[in-house]
Symmetry: C2
Subunit: 453 residues, 2 copies
Amino acid sequence: MSDVHGYIDQNLPRFRAELFEFLRIPSVSARREYQPEIRRAADWLAGKLRDLGLETSVEETPGHPIVLAEWRGAAKSAPTVLIYGHYDVQPAEPLELWTTPPFEPTVRDGRIYARGSVDDKGQLYLHVKALEAHLRSNHKLPVNVILLAEGEEEVGSEHLMPFVRERVSRLKADAVVISDTTMVAPDVPTIGASLRGLAYFELEVFGPSHDLHSGTYGGGVLNPATALSRIVGSFHDDDWRITIKGFYDDVDPAPDFRARIKELPFDDKKFLGETGSPKLVGERGQSTPERLWLRPTVEVNGMLSGYTGEGSKTVLPAKAMAKVSCRLVPNQDPARIQKVFREHVQRVTPEGVRVDIKVLHGGRPWRARLQGPLYDAAARALERAFGRPPVYAGEGGSIPIVPEFEETLGAPVLLMGFGLPGENAHAPDEWMSVECFEKGTHAAAAVLAELAG
Amino acid sequence: MSDVHGYIDQNLPRFRAELFEFLRIPSVSARREYQPEIRRAADWLAGKLRDLGLETSVEETPGHPIVLAEWRGAAKSAPTVLIYGHYDVQPAEPLELWTTPPFEPTVRDGRIYARGSVDDKGQLYLHVKALEAHLRSNHKLPVNVILLAEGEEEVGSEHLMPFVRERVSRLKADAVVISDTTMVAPDVPTIGASLRGLAYFELEVFGPSHDLHSGTYGGGVLNPATALSRIVGSFHDDDWRITIKGFYDDVDPAPDFRARIKELPFDDKKFLGETGSPKLVGERGQSTPERLWLRPTVEVNGMLSGYTGEGSKTVLPAKAMAKVSCRLVPNQDPARIQKVFREHVQRVTPEGVRVDIKVLHGGRPWRARLQGPLYDAAARALERAFGRPPVYAGEGGSIPIVPEFEETLGAPVLLMGFGLPGENAHAPDEWMSVECFEKGTHAAAAVLAELAG
């Protein structure tokens, strides 16, 4: 095994250079115009896996392709590990807020700045390099490996599960390993204990058939931006509890996890510093990590109406749009949340406008069992790479695929993330720590060896 | 006088061709990049007035220039008439909603489609052509004339009143005539009896210092778009009465004008048709024309936050912006409304965000006295042009300069407008009726003769 880690240390500069090639491909899944780049990213990744000797294919789906690579030469008693990641990235806008261009990776202060650096290309590619380290050092892997990388994670993973379900026997694994989450603090290796689910909506409120003069018509008809504001303003009460009827019905109070959270070194002041907000504000009576990991949210992701250019234009807009998404916690069900959300919006929409609610995507929340050989192996591997045992923390974000993997493949899922607080995933100046990329590669190599027993 | 009207009838095609030249100049006052076009429009107009023999200058201001033209050769007993209009136009966006490009005037179904056709280039230029008709037919005008055309009406006329105040003795007039309003129905000549004032604000709500991942941070900090929605949603109660404390304090109930409005042929169904809204909705207990002319409003003119492109982006936005404007009625004072608006916004802004309130512009409301020689002359001139006497209607829009003219020059103001319902001023597909342009030219020529006595 020491060869493997020696190999990693010797080849880190090249690993990073290869990652930069990967990051230069603007594989934005949300935008049609980037479709060729999505394809290019899939082909690039498949090429790297093929070069290592994995049986690799770029599989078509009705959406973006899935990269599937397999290596099945391990000892008969060895388990099979499925490594999952995604090669698509969030849109990079607003571009003017990036210090350096999003698709020209740049190292500053020990951080790799680029769209997709931490979410998820860097965290996916370190697994590819861990496989390389084993294969080049020992000409084999300690376990059978299936690597599955999708191109639709940032838009809801619509085609991944049908793909998996059609290939259950081929993809059967004893453990699923995913690196797409964040450590609670630098040098504190972290295993993800929970994920929030998602229900994402686009609301459009229609008033007049065209923009009107706000003097000539103002007072005569209802302004759709006013109506939308009232709808969005109705989602919370003054204690920032969600007012949607039935929204909290299935929320698991999770006393054990709540107790575990209380023991974590969560630093409110540092968290506030990361956000740059005037103050931490949220649901009354819940601590910050409780609000992030144990409680659901309704957030506005975007809003647009009327004239938004320089100066004043006295227009009564024809329509108003808001993108609104709910983060869900166990045991909330996205389908039920979609239903109660719709009912709420229809109930509060005032007369004089028409509202259209589109469901953009959804995903289920998840909580880990945190025990068994996979978790034991991960704890040892992380301690080896970071010099201290891991902590178990929640994750506010969503990986809708996680609960589905667990159910469909019948295998436990390990979230072994190498992001850091303040990494700006989904925002301008996204970064991944160089050190985390390197230690992550060691940990990814070690976990395979540990799983071989 | 028959010569004058014959001259008009003979030259209408050329008048319209000249107007088209004027409309092709995109003199958008709100946008810096159009400054050269504003200048070009002023020079073009000044050229036309100079060609008629008026003493004409393009006067500099700290903003856009003012075109000033004078003719003082009338009989000693003749009054002096100041004709006011504006050569600037509203921004044309959203461009994709125009049937034909906004600055390529096109006639369809008897309407001239172009940005500025009715607001106000067409209504201003018909006065220029009325002057031409007198001067070419009789080598003189029946009254002394001052023509004043500004380039900042659509952005608040900031520099016009200082300009007028510095030249009070030179601009001294017995009557002010303005064509920048709308007739209540086709073939119903209309004198404007009231205007609403304006107080225009831009609100910016700041939360995090940069866009955040809505999963990782959602629930931890307050979403500025949520905060903005609550602020905007707080402006009205469920009866669509404005909730801002002190907002209605100075509103004149105006029982006489209210009685006059009840007699007007205001057609709710037709008005609804113009708007294309699902239903007419506004302050409970007030009829549509009452809401438009007697009651103030708070309207959202624009709103922007976060990600507004295609698909979903799970971002917690750093800020949210709304453009909000109040239409005011006598005797509301824009300065006092600014104060109570600010107080309200500050009172309802939740903890966890910072709000910034910018006043973009303001203007006072106005109500006409509707009697005296100016109104008698106008009634006769309109009856001559349209074949029936005028009605007196309110106007929901604002011309902040009107009350200021009346005070500064000590002269009554006549609003003799030739727009029509549904003209789309400030919106895509703005139009002016060809017939109204023509009859308006006749009326404008006639009112000068009538004023000469």
